[in-house]
Symmetry: C2
Amino acid sequence: MPIVLGQHFIGGGRSGFGQPLHKSIDATTGEVLPYSFYQAIDAEINAAAQAAKAAFCEFRQISTVRRAEFLDAIADELDQLDDDFVAIVCQETALPTARIQGERARTSGQMRLFAKVVRYGDFLGARIDQSLPDRKPMARVDLRQYRIGIGPVAVFGASNFPLAFSTAGGDTAAALAAGCPVVLKAHSGHMATADMVGCAIVRAAERTGMPKGVFNMIFGSGVGEGLVKHPAIQAVGFTGSLAGGAALCKIASERPQPIPVFAEMSSINPVVLLPGALVARGVTIAGELAASVVMGAGQFCTNPGLVIGIRSVELDAFTDILKEHLGAQAPQTMLNAGGLRSYRQGVEHLLSHAGVTHLAGKTQEGKQAEAQLFKADVSLLLNGDPLLQEEVFGPTTLLIEVADDTELEGALRALRGQLTATLIGEPTDLKRYQWLVPLLEEKVGRILVNGYPTGVEVCDAMVHGGPYPATSDARGTSVGTLAIDRFLRPVCHQNFPDALLPEALQNANPLGLKRLVNGVWTSDPIF
Amino acid sequence: MPIVLGQHFIGGGRSGFGQPLHKSIDATTGEVLPYSFYQAIDAEINAAAQAAKAAFCEFRQISTVRRAEFLDAIADELDQLDDDFVAIVCQETALPTARIQGERARTSGQMRLFAKVVRYGDFLGARIDQSLPDRKPMARVDLRQYRIGIGPVAVFGASNFPLAFSTAGGDTAAALAAGCPVVLKAHSGHMATADMVGCAIVRAAERTGMPKGVFNMIFGSGVGEGLVKHPAIQAVGFTGSLAGGAALCKIASERPQPIPVFAEMSSINPVVLLPGALVARGVTIAGELAASVVMGAGQFCTNPGLVIGIRSVELDAFTDILKEHLGAQAPQTMLNAGGLRSYRQGVEHLLSHAGVTHLAGKTQEGKQAEAQLFKADVSLLLNGDPLLQEEVFGPTTLLIEVADDTELEGALRALRGQLTATLIGEPTDLKRYQWLVPLLEEKVGRILVNGYPTGVEVCDAMVHGGPYPATSDARGTSVGTLAIDRFLRPVCHQNFPDALLPEALQNANPLGLKRLVNGVWTSDPIF
């Protein structure tokens, strides 16, 4: 059995002054696992935030080459987490082995992608406007801008991606890449996983000579508020529920010095079925959509929770097949008992709603989640019924039938902000319904054509974000390389002698950056 | 006399359903000018926000060429505002004619710079990751990202730049460049100016065929809250007091859908006098610094409100000369009676503080502002006395003497976030005090060497921003081309047929953009 200390990670060491109150749970059996975790006391929350602050100035100034080495070292350490590790993650989350193996590779791949971003240096946003001493009526002084890390970042791990969105996940990778030390609030659903990943990060930090407080992590319940309130913390990354994210936003906005929060919260990810597609391949779509709804017990932020189609015999036929698919699903174990409880409540709310019809799905009882299909009247959406817009985190989806294009437009306009929207259509559909694209652009972070929203590629072009309540700030993404932008801020240097400038802005361009010099992009040095 | 209707600008027309309660005031004489302005009623606030919303979808999709033409047309209209206009601005603000003529040119120049930014298209942030159908273990789908306007922006004009930071100022230019319609809350200190500039913008909008609600403006007191609360408004730009900015942030964060606020608020802009410079040119520095302190009656966000030096005979000599300069200044008329009242109170607070000594300046009485010089014990800063960190908006500055480098470091670390910090030093000073640069980078938006912070160049590299309370979001700037970033958000298109994509992302690259394609920057089309 691997050693899992269950103590907090503070400034390169471990600490456990509080009580070992928290036990890791086997998500499948509900049994208590032999790992205990300490409740962080206030002094430890403070120490973790202070350690991050103490590390900030050194860490943000470490060369991009060494910062990238650190991220690559984390990736290597993650890859070396072995079968015992994978077994523990599976125990804590009830996720299958292949999924965790894949997620491990995705998480290390994500770290390496950010290492590339750091090496490339575009994120530094170097801009130089040289002096124009002869300009009339006034000379221009030399001005040079680059971006630095915003400061220590508090990261809240997500339950549903114990690796890729948690301890060494996307927010941590983006923050470290930006030069920001991290204080992680370990998710209670996979604390042994968090402990082992935390050790991997610390090994990488030691191996590459990073300052000790570059990564910190605390365990415990109710410790998030103190962390977000701590004056050393300068930004927050969060993935979780709307209630949780909104609470953190409130705390952050009421600080004496308010700080930005990037919370990825709630999305029902509408899928629009266009008429031609239902004619051409309704049967196939029903099967694919059902698979997307139940994948991973529906525990994805981008799970398709709303399906919209225009009334037709083809939609009826499609609905019948979707009913069959979802009615025939085997129950699945969810990530934890809390998640199952929330799912049961969500299903009950839909069942008890007068405007909602239950189309398929076994009675939700026992220890596993049953897939469900509901149908709601479009008037609920048009009249702003909140229930319809609330994410039910699990293998369920809700069908809405609209009378015509006008009602389709109204239904889509009535939606709140979403992570994704999907158009399923034949080429003729897409031509006829091209007007949906700008409408959806204003509602979501990502629009898919003929695909399913589950599955989020980690790359330059990905946006995993969107208008409220999908996220708390539509200008960010929590997946993909653009995620680094959330944790950077610009600083301008005016009339600096060359030697006093940060390397990114020196005339010789020692980092070989692409820089905007006097309005023109160039990698050339300045003579 | 020019025609000044005093009615709100809503959807291309004018509206005045409320009472003409507000009068424009001659800032120098206090006399009421013959221009009346209507108090916006709730229905008009709503109509203005709705007009902006109605214009958004069309405006944001107008080609970048036409959007740039619109900005250039505004610039042309601003340039054509004649001597009568300049005379009214001077009447309303007590600012000298040459300053207003210069500010007019700066404001139109700023519009043209944003037109260039729009034509160039970099702000669209186009990123393309093409599909990798053969990738193992999973294929990659085609993903394409660009940035769109965030939605209608509420802009609050500043008192101290009636043109450059007001109706057609930096926030308006950045929002329009981003594709966001604007609802302006006209500043009560220069309503006739606002009216005439508003007409200029509307003429430009008509001339270039923009949607009617692209620019809207309301007059009145207490109308800002309703505007920021309006669900159509998606972001806020503000320049003003800390109290005003913080109030808007609170309103914005408590909306059912919280929105970002970019408030530029309070900064005392520390100037650090390094020892060698005082030896070499203390007399010159005293004269230059005094000029920066009193320029424009000290009514600049970047006015140097705090001067720090290390105890020495040279600092004493410098102080004596600075006393002479500031003691000898003629009084100046401020922008408005409210500003003078605030200044008098600020001066009184400093005078009545036990730890603060008055070094120079005539008794603050009468209708004009008297330049003042104070000295405070460094302990006040080190112990977090709030008075020392509060901006006194006017021609005053406060000197702090530190014992040594350690105390200098402590004093700078004790500062809150600032727009600027300045180092005055000889080459040997700058070498010896190089350690100050990273410290200041974490405190401010712009660091100057051997210059004075008043005077903010509008260019690519400028940062007019900084950590709280200098601004509400250190990741933005309200001057320079990077200001556009505040009003943009990314959207991703997955697996789109080429014809369905926005032009920025189409294979042929019809806009000729520099795009990040499969991790490499290129302007080439994709074949």
